[in-house]
Symmetry: D2
Subunit: 377 residues, 4 copies
């Protein structure tokens, strides 16, 4: 009898990259057994995919309702424990809500909901459910991001006095500069994508990262967004000024028209005594800057790292880890929590991150719409 | 009924890093089902580990012989097809030999054998067996290494005129400088580790990489090795001069006393028209140098890459991949071969790489021992 | 009769770094002859310094007024033509104004004036004077900055759609966090430093760079500055949102509390077709990002560069412009030795190096010729 | 009366890069006065050049013999003290010898002589002369090379156990692959260039650097050189094994056929406790690797550097030494303008930049003061 966690999946079938990412992550520490799924709205497609990836088809369900119904009939020790929600964005909220209400732990892809109101509602549902909820802000799974958080918490850089995060991509260029394409893509359609494109998709990652590594909450923001074309309804670029207090400030820059950039996500935190910088495209390096000292470059797997950082490093120093490993660490943390083991709250993003994120998106859009003015978060 | 490949594993239980690496790699493209295993010489430990990682214990065997006997009793469509050999080095040869003779495909960790004579013997066994054999020179699984190979093959850099490979680590320092430790560690004991430490462990990776990316064979070598202490029997550092022909030369440098280096493995190939360089610690970059042109940096996942390179990239550009992904690509290639699908010979290292590697190690040691003289490979 | 430009200098005596910088710069292309100067308010100090640096003392003046009076008495072909203003900030405006009115060309250190009103006045004076005026925004002298400007002008990146500049330093930390120091330093005293510390000192460099490389003018800005302490009157950090038009935006970030940063000045310009990025701390690289193409890294001295860029490169590719400084240090060491001063033997290579080198070459050739054998040096 | 060193120069006239390099270097610390010269075998050309660069023509001589004769007639306090030899390679030895015998200090370009025998002879001459002699192995002038030397001397890395130097260029490719060119270029003609091309030109730099930074002497070497074509008499590539003792080894790699490489000169020294690495193309970084510690990157101008290193740094940290060149280009542009020559407006910032800058500062401050609101520039 396996003592793996029984795991269900909604969506993520076929060639879905997000599906592969979650399955590999779930396998990384031998903690999850893929046991039940609705990979596709068409149950035959779901079953065929189950066969293709070599899992039994007897718990491949027609839809979420059937999954809940049938699983609840099973004895507790056979029933799935955690369900990952990998469906299209607008389904995240209703599915996560239904799962929590039905007593399942949830791992949910980003964005958590379509609106801030939904996020608050979901938070309430979770509070009543006594179930766990992890939101896959994957980048927080990187060992050196965790190391950064712990070093800041330990006071290595002193009181934070400035924060600078950047998330630059260039992928939307071929769409945005084509009148036909920009008017038809679902990503620029508020009904399908929510109220924000750039801030909703990547700005929120940068925002969550800032709060994750600093352990501080942003108090108010002022956003200047760019739609680039008058007939485009969604922001595809923007700069957001951040205030953590009267004298602790920051800036968050996100763009999908930063031509040629791939996934150039960086975060820098400047403290009274030193600073730390991390770059997603070279995730195995953490830079420590201290006045009058040589620049120090920390890498994964060394004893000088915090236990939380080391916990997510599988190989000796010098063997680079990638995005799959980051997601694997999120799953690892959730597995500890599901099993009732001790874990560090920094091991996976939670409902709170989702709620804060949705609020950030809404306030960013309204700060801009009202004339680039300050608004409280 | 799963159509995954039925996979067996020898060794790699418990916290074994190599075990985790192979299991995750096998999961990456949903192609393998871990079905049978001897994780440990103690079958109870094996079974406990099987439970821990959630696989059925009914095909956990006492030893290799039992595994072969019992699996052969099963109908062909239930029998395991591929076995990974992850046991201590001295067992690689006898186990791989036995498996091939018994009709199983083999994935074998490095070093393939303890001696060149064994390597030749194993090659003969495979030739008679009609079975597949993959040797996990993992670094060849990186998308940008594959891209490098394909670009050289297509003539992008012109005729190769110079090759330079480096594999520098510093991990043996605390051992080598301690008289007690260096006389007792198994790594420096020729009976347990074969005739070479540095060349046998990492020099051979550099050597295989050189032949992999250039598609050329080294003709002769001259080796200058360093034991650092008179009472140390094994090389822990060395430089090997390479000749591919009268006017095509190269150099291979490997060290375990390059203090502070983690896994600094690089390869540079200079052609008549241009050059290509790759570094293992930043595996997602491939540098193209061409006289009078800007330096170009190629990255995974872009359309400008070869199909073989793209086949091993799972996520969009900008999401770094690591060593797990490289191993995953080796397993993917082997899966294609096992399934009788078309595959590129560059997808996984074979018996030939193992034979060449063992010869390289023996000749390197004898070139040095005979007074740093040239010897044919 | 020299045909060098007759050059005067105000300030920059003694160990003044800015004085050295201007003198070396003036010597680089053999175009200037330092002919007249007021190095110091004390004319005796000025004269002593003139002797120290080996220029005739007959045109070392008491003050600017004397300089103008005496020089104007000289025939035009003896009179100084250009004067560099290297005095404390508050003197830039009155001195530059006086010089222009008196018919001299001016090279002026930054900041040009203390206020915008003065700047406008000076502009008017110049317009009437028919004299030249150069402001030393030094970074625009870098070959790769000039290359960036020219590539944007030629349309290589298409219409500019986003600009991001950063100028981060951390030097003010030890001052700002010390109540005593921050209340007494002239840099944080508006009467001595003008109305802004961070924006006035470095933000303006970033701003000028943006307009220099893009060839565009910023239309409007929104600034969020940080004083860090209530009792500090001057900004020491800030983010400025930029608008070039309704849909072309940018951001300028400057800080003197970015702890551990030295002079981290970067500029990135994103166009419709491609992007260009440059970093002051690695000034010999210009990065060209184009969707679907390898990252290209342009370097100085190559034919692919614009004439303006090539005009400022004195050595072949691969020699960082810093090589002049390296040679300068060799000369410095030799000077100490010639003068019989104490010096470190490491300050310049000697005959012994030459002898060893020649032996190395001969032995290397004969080691190879005799069959790659060992030879003593 | 100037107290500068009276300096003579042989060669280096016209557009000679080496001439510019030495003149600028000589000017850097205000220590030399160019007083006498033979710039060219044709004295009229020499005189014209003297005028062009603005030095008196009365001590421009016909040849070295005249220079010596006439200078010796002058009283000692007027006579030149140091002479730099910048003539073609085969003249270095006879000229340096003659100068030392005649009582002048000498600064000599590389290679010092054509043969080892000449080098020994010159060494003897110097010993008798009581004169100083500097050989311009320029790279040892870099602050971080000097820092490296001092750290090794102080034992920071412990006993040296391995050395690796590389000097890779690709410039000879267009010559070597063209039968006509390779048979006619003086660089591949032993009569004009000495017995070695690659080792003689750049290998010797790497060799000198190794001995400079380690303070150790190489005892014996083994070289494998490459001529690439049978009809080519000179080495253009090679690897040299180095021995400092029985258990201290190294490798020196040099090439002029490393296609696409510019001036990729690196040196790494591995000690028992730590390692140091430096790269010529990024000369402002020195890497300190220590087992179990973060990588440390040292930069010029910091207090943690040795006095010798600091002595050669003129500006604060973060300003690459190349900044002098940037300023030099500003001055160059201004010189063109002053002389009424055609120039590019991009060659130096103007009044307009100053005006815009002052406006930027004022508006930035008022935008913030008025509540982070938009203002026009």
């Amino acid at each position: 009898m396996s003592n793996k966690i029984r795991w269900g999946v909604l969506g993520g079938g076929g060639d879905s990259l997000i599906g592969i990412l979650h399955r590999v992550a779930a396998s990384m520490f031998d903690a999850y057994q893929l046991t039940a799924a609705v990979f596709n709205p068409d149950v035959n497609v779901s079953r065929a995919f189950a066969e293709e990836i070599g899992i039994p088809t007897n718990r491949i369900y027609t839809d979420l309702e059937e999954m809940i119904l049938e699983e609840q009939k099973l004895p507790k020790e056979k029933r799935i424990q955690v369900v990952s929600v990998l469906t299209p964005n607008f389904l995240h909220f209703p599915m996560a809500k239904r799962l929590l209400e039905a007593g399942f732990h949830v791992i949910c892809e980003k964005p958590m909901t379509m609106t801030y109101a939904e996020a608050l509602e979901l938070e309430e549902v979770q509070a009543l459910s006594n179930r766990l909820f992890a939101l896959t802000h994957t980048y927080t799974g990187y060992p050196m991001v965790r190391q950064m958080k712990k070093m800041i918490a330990k006071g290595v850089i002193g009181a934070v006095q400035k924060v600078d995060a950047q998330y630059y991509q260039g992928w939307i260029n071929p769409i945005i500069h084509d009148k036909e394409k920009r008017s038809t893509t679902w990503r620029l359609n508020p009904e399908k994508s929510g109220i924000s494109c750039c801030m909703g998709d990547i700005g929120v990652h940068a925002y969550q990262m800032i709060e994750y590594v600093t352990g501080m909450e942003v108090e108010s923001i002022l956003a200047d967004l760019n739609h680039l074309y008058e007939d485009n309804q969604m922001d595809i670029d923007g700069t957001v000024l951040l205030r953590f207090g009267d004298y602790t400030k920051g800036v968050l820059r996100a763009s999908q028209i930063a031509t040629g950039e791939e996934n150039n996500f960086t975060v820098a935190v400047y403290g009274k005594k030193a600073a730390l910088k991390w770059e997603q495209e070279n995730p195995n390096y953490l830079y420590l800057l201290e006045e009058g000292q040589p620049l120090r470059v920390l890498k994964p797997g060394h004893d000088y790292n915090d236990a939380l950082s080391l916990d997510g490093t599988k190989l000796p120093p010098g063997h680079p880890e990638g995005i799959f490993d980051a997601m694997g660490n999120i799953y690892k943390g959730m597995a500890k929590a599901v099993r009732g083991k001790e874990y560090d709250p920094a091991e996976f993003p939670t409902m709170r991150d989702g709620v804060r994120g949705m609020r950030f998106i809404e306030i960013a859009v309204s700060s801009h719409a009202d004339g680039t003015v300050w608004k409280s978060l």
